[in-house]
Every structure is written in C-alpha cells, then in structure tokens.
Symmetry: C2
Subunit: 400 residues, 2 copies
C-alpha cells in the first residue's frame, strides 16, 4: 500500500518512529548485554505485596474495580499522593483535588501538549533532554529550544538569555537525576531558577520520576516548593512500584488542572481504575519507603560497580559525571568519537547502549551516549563496559 | 487565579467541559433514578472469574505483569482479539499484527485525531453521534459534518451528497446499536455504504462497542468485512467484561497501523499490561460467549421492561425506535418539547436522562433525549419512566 494513499495529519508525517524502539529490537537477542533501555530491575518489583494487595482489593472493592471511574482518578489514591508528595508545599488551597491521575507520566506529557502548545510555540527544555518529552511535545508541532546543561544542572545564564528573547509556553525540566544525563540541579540553582522563571511569568513543568531513587542522604527541595504558583509537577509509580500499571500523576494549580481534566477525558476517559485501587491498597498495607530503600541500595551498588568498570576500561576514552541517583550514566566520548558508529561496533561485540543523538532537538553532540545500570545484573555490568571499551579501541585503531 | 493568566492552546480554549460529566454530578444523589450514564450493570461483571484469572496470571507471569511492555500491546491478547473478531475478514495479510491495544476505545478516538486531523479538515459522523468522539476529535479542530440518521441507519443519499461536495478525512460511524440512538444500519445499507465509500476512497472508522450486545439472533456483517481496505475497526472489552480495565483496540491496515503506533507511543507508551495479561488469561480459561449471553439476556429483559413503561406512560408524549441491542433508547418528544427544560423538571422529580443537544455537532434537535436501560434495576425502570412522563405532563400544563 502506498504511503501517500492516505491523507494523514501534518503532525504525524513530521514524526519519526522512535529511535529507541528500533534499538530495542536489535538488543533483544539474548547474547547481547543491553544498557539501552530504561527499565527498572524486575527482581525488585514487590510482586508478593502487590499480589496480596490485589487480593484484598478484590475482597474489599469488588465490582468497583471493574466499573467506569471518574476522570480525575481514584480519590483515595489521589489523597495518598497528595499526603506523600505535596502536603508541605506552601500554596493556598493546594489539596488532593489538584492531583490528576494519568496513564503513566508519558500521558501527562501528551496532556501538556494538548492544553498548551499551538504549532510554532516556543518550548524550553534541557539539552540533552528526555526523549519521551521530545516525542510527546513534537506531535503538537512546537518550536523546541534546548537550554544547555552544566554539571550542576541547567545553565541559568543561557536560560535567562533565552527567556529574554522568547516568550515560551513553558520550561520542561527533569531537575533531579535527569534522563539522560543523570545530572541534578544544585540547591543554589533551584532557588535562582524560581526567581528567574517568576520574573518572566514562565510556567515550569517539573518532571520527577527518579527523585526518590537517590544514593545520598541529602534530598533537595523540589523547584515546585519554591515556585508553586506556576509549577506543574509530574510524578509516577513506574520507577518505584510498577511501570506496567501505568499510573502517573499531575499536580497543578487548580485553574490549569481544570484544563487538564477536559483533555484527559477526551484522551482516554480515565486511567485503569483496577490498578489504581490495587496501588491504593498497597500503600495502605505496605511501606513504600522500605520498597524504595531496596531499590536505592540495589541501584547504588550497581552504579558503583558500573563506575568501577568505567574507571577500569574507559577512563581514557570518555568523561562522565557520577550520578547521585536515578538509572543512567551519560558518557562524552573523547577524540570526537561518533557514538552512532560506536553503536554498530558495540552491537557486533554483543553490547548495546543508546547513542546521544535522539536526546537533542537540534545540533546533536555526536560523541555522547546513555548507559543504564538499573536493569543489568552485576555479572554483566563489568563485561558489558569492558566490551564497550574494546569497541572504542578497535574503532580508534581503524580510524588511525 | 485569572483564566487569562496562562497561555493555553487554541484547541483547549475552544473545548467545553463535558456536558455529561456535569449532569452526572447532579444525578449522583441516591434518591435520583438516573438513566443518564452509559455504564454496564456491575452485577454482571464476571468478578469471580476475573479474580481467579488475576490470581493465575500472577502465578504464571509474575513480574512480566509489572514491567514495561511493548506499545502494540500484549501479543497473546492481540492474537485472541484477531481470532475472535477478524479472522474471517478477507484482506491479504491481515493478522494479529494489525491489532493495536488502546487505553479504552476513547484513546483510539484520540489517536485517530492525532494521525488524521489537521485544523479545518472535514470529518463526517452520524447526526446525532457519539459524544465521546465529538469530544476527542474536537481537540484536533476539524470541521465536523453531521450526516442524518434514518430508522435503518445513515441516510445514504445525504452521505453521497456530502461526499461529492467535500473530501473528508474519514467517516466515523457506530453502525450497530448506535450511541445515542440505538439504531442499526441495515444489511442492504451496509453493502451500499461500502460501495459509496469505495467510490470516494473515503476511510471508514467503524466503532463497534455494542455489536455483541444484541437481542435478536441475526447479526449483520461488519462494514469492515465489505470494505476492509479502508476501514479502521474499533473494539473494546468495556461493555462485555470491564470498563475499569480500559482495554480497547484498533484493527487497521498495516500502513495506517504504523502511524497509530507512533502516536500511541507518544501518548502513553503502552496501555496497562497487568490488565491485558489478566484479560488474556480470562479468555484462556473462561467462555466470553457465556458472559455475553448473560449480558444479552439481562439487558434484553430491561429493555423490554423499559419499552413497556414507555408504552404505558409516554406513548402520546414521544416517539422512539425500539433498539435491537445496546444500552439506549432515543426519544423524540412530541409538540417540540425542549428536553433541556424537561431535564430540569425531571431532576426536580428525581429522575435523570441526557438531553439530546450534546450529541449534535450543530443545529441540535432540542426535543430529543437519551435514556439508558443497562444500569438501572428492574424496580426503578418503571418508576423512572413514570416520573419522566409526569414531568412532561406538568411542563405541558405550564406551557398551556
């Protein structure tokens, strides 16, 4: 059938298939060690607890779990999310009514596109930035502008410069253990960014999927806590409990939330209520903090093993900033090594990662790459990094 | 906070809150008999079977139920949907790969908007038509054109006339036990519509949530079976098993499906995999046809009781076409009685329905209304219809 036979929308014709999807096809071979995905370690899912919570939810709630629900989401779950994540935010009237349950955080990004973006609207995001956000926003045809990242998060001089030249609909940021770089916005910069955004009346989308997966005791305040009047906060249970449940949320000022609600209803009426009730029951009966401690300890250990291997096999081949949480290392290859070429060589050597290019909205830095440490076993981490190092050396030899 | 303080997209500013949502708030009082919603009867949910399927799914699939899945949906579920609903469609290469799992049929409507609609594009749909489709499409700012319904479905003379004057992106139709009218496209018209659409190369969206809930033995072939090359078929488990699971699907020609996949990934990555695996396990272990028989018998009985009451209390006050399946009666009030005014009087008399206005994209027929029979108990059906009749008589007296 001919591609041109059907009359598609402009937005879909401008959108490519996901680069990472294509990569994941190649990396599904069992002999390949893959650092490409961004999946949690399934061995850490609280399988027995969720099974028990499902069982008791069936007993307590019965057919309510199977019927249509309200678009806002399951009320007791919204209350628990508010209590856990937002009750200390100082903003008049903020309550569980400001929480909207979404089908994963990805849907929150789509709803943001729906309610804010007209074609051509300038949107600011980190450079490099989260690929899923680039994809979701792109369908609404904005003008995406990347603001560079420094080791301690967004370059605020560049941000202020951009804000004085454009009037963006919002800044999308993932300030804590960022995907893809693992970088975290410093406390000082959090205070400063709230001032800068306030001066320009700019809305902030603060996406925080990894905030609880931190390897050090100190947690920074959210930017939302410093700038509640114009922050839309996104959260998810995908990294702490289960991505398969597809339960994320938006916390936004009430007036914005009313627009999200219209968009939510048009998009899927409401998210799966069965899983919302199971999660709510889990939170009633089990301690999420214990679950998070388990994840922190495991990922911290894996991250340290990966860094040891990086120091052993790649210290002269790449630079990186040691992440203080999350799931990723971001490598900058030395000698302008192209990570796309390296990807091919690495696949031939049975190891995979994600080249940096798809994380840039324009002018990609071709010597960058993302490697994940949450999903691999300790045994494969060293071997995989060794293989990447070998592939770099092999490519360098060919180039010389 | 001032509405104009934030810079929203044009699309969301043009979209109103759902009329039905507002109605449902009023009708949630326990003393009100509500025929307003479109919910299945929760007493018919196969609660014990789904509980047992959940339990065995946990045992068999474990952490796979909780991990990220592929955007297309759970492969064994797609295979079962194909086997049950599409294996007899004569179209080269059609297979389970043509099935994409969506977060309810509502998401399918959103994805259709995403991949087809540019602002101003003409779109055809039934007049009156499904409110959820009007909402989902409207966010993509099309020019919605209503094609009138006759007692045996779409007015094909009007359809052909419109097709010869416009070049619509697609016709959206709900040909079997339509929401809101309960009308069904006749066999003869199904053959004819395939010819007409084919002549104009027009894509058909055939939305079929109610097809299996039929009260007579004869089932008409889908329009898709007569026009597979340009039909996008939508289905759902919401009316047969559980709306709370939010599992619907799209079956489309492969080339179109590839565009849906891009849009799906940007919209929510994938639908809840936990519920997809539970449904798949249910279909393996239980007989969906027995479940559907139960629903058919119950709704047929309720429909007959409602029609008896209509004949008793409203025979001189309204006209209707007896539905042969589905969940709704559509009433046309005599003497140009305004159903919005009637709604207020009926609420005062503790009974609710949906006035016809929101089902029209333009020039609504203000003397129409939708009443649901699936969700009410037998005991309340007669009393509720009696109350509506009383409210009409009371209003007529006031008018005189």
């Amino acid at each position: 059938m001919n591609e041109n036979e059907f009359l598609y929308s402009d937005r879909i014709l401008k959108t490519n298939r996901s680069f990472i999807r294509e990569i994941l096809k190649v990396t599904s071979h069992p002999e390949i060690i893959s650092f490409a995905g961004g999946q949690p370690d399934p061995a850490l899912f609280p399988l027995e607890e969720l099974r028990s919570a499902t069982d008791s939810a069936f007993q307590k709630y019965g057919s309510q779990m199977l019927q249509y629900g309200i678009s806002e989401g399951y009320t007791p779950l919204r209350e628990k999310i508010f209590e856990r994540y937002y009750k200390n935010i100082k903003y008049p009237g903020l309550s569980s009514e400001n929480i909207l349950i979404t089908t994963g955080s990805q849907q929150a990004l789509d709803l943001i596109g729906k309610i804010f973006i007209n074609p051509g609207d300038p949107i600011l995001m980190e450079r490099p930035g989260y690929l899923g956000a680039i994809q979701a926003f792109s369908l609404y045809e904005p003008f995406l502008i990347g603001v560079p990242l420094e080791d301690d998060g967004l370059d605020l001089v560049a941000l202020e410069n951009t804000l004085s030249k454009t009037n963006p609909k919002f800044l999308y940021s993932n300030p804590t253990f960022q995907n893809p770089t693992g970088k975290t916005l410093s406390l000082q910069k959090r205070e400063r960014i709230a001032e800068i955004l306030g001066k320009h009346n700019c809305i902030l989308i603060e996406d925080n999927p990894y905030g609880e997966i931190r390897f050090e005791s100190e947690a920074f305040p959210s930017i939302q806590s410093l700038y509640p009047e114009r922050t839309i906060s996104l959260g998810t249970f995908s990294k702490t409990l289960s991505p398969g449940f597809r339960v994320g949320w938006i916390c936004a000022p009430k007036e914005i939330q009313s627009k999200f609600l219209i968009a939510k209803q048009a998009s899927d009426l409401h998210s799966n209520i069965f899983s919302q009730i199971v999660l709510s029951e889990y939170l009633d009966r089990f301690d999420l903090d214990l679950q998070i401690d388990k994840i922190r300890n495991s990922y911290k250990f894996k991250k340290e093993r990966m860094e040891e291997s990086l120091n052993r096999y790649m210290i002269d081949l790449a630079d990186w900033v040691s992440p203080k949480g999350g799931m990723f290392f971001w490598l900058t290859l030395k000698n302008e090594m192209n990570s796309m070429k390296l990807f091919e060589a690495a696949i031939a050597n049975n190891v995979a990662f994600v080249p940096g290019i798809p994380f840039y909205t324009e002018k990609p830095e071709t010597n960058t790459m993302r490697i994940n440490f949450s999903h691999s076993s300790i045994e494969t981490i060293e071997l995989g990094i060794q293989r990447i190092g070998e592939s770099i050396l092999k490519l360098s030899t060919i180039s010389v």
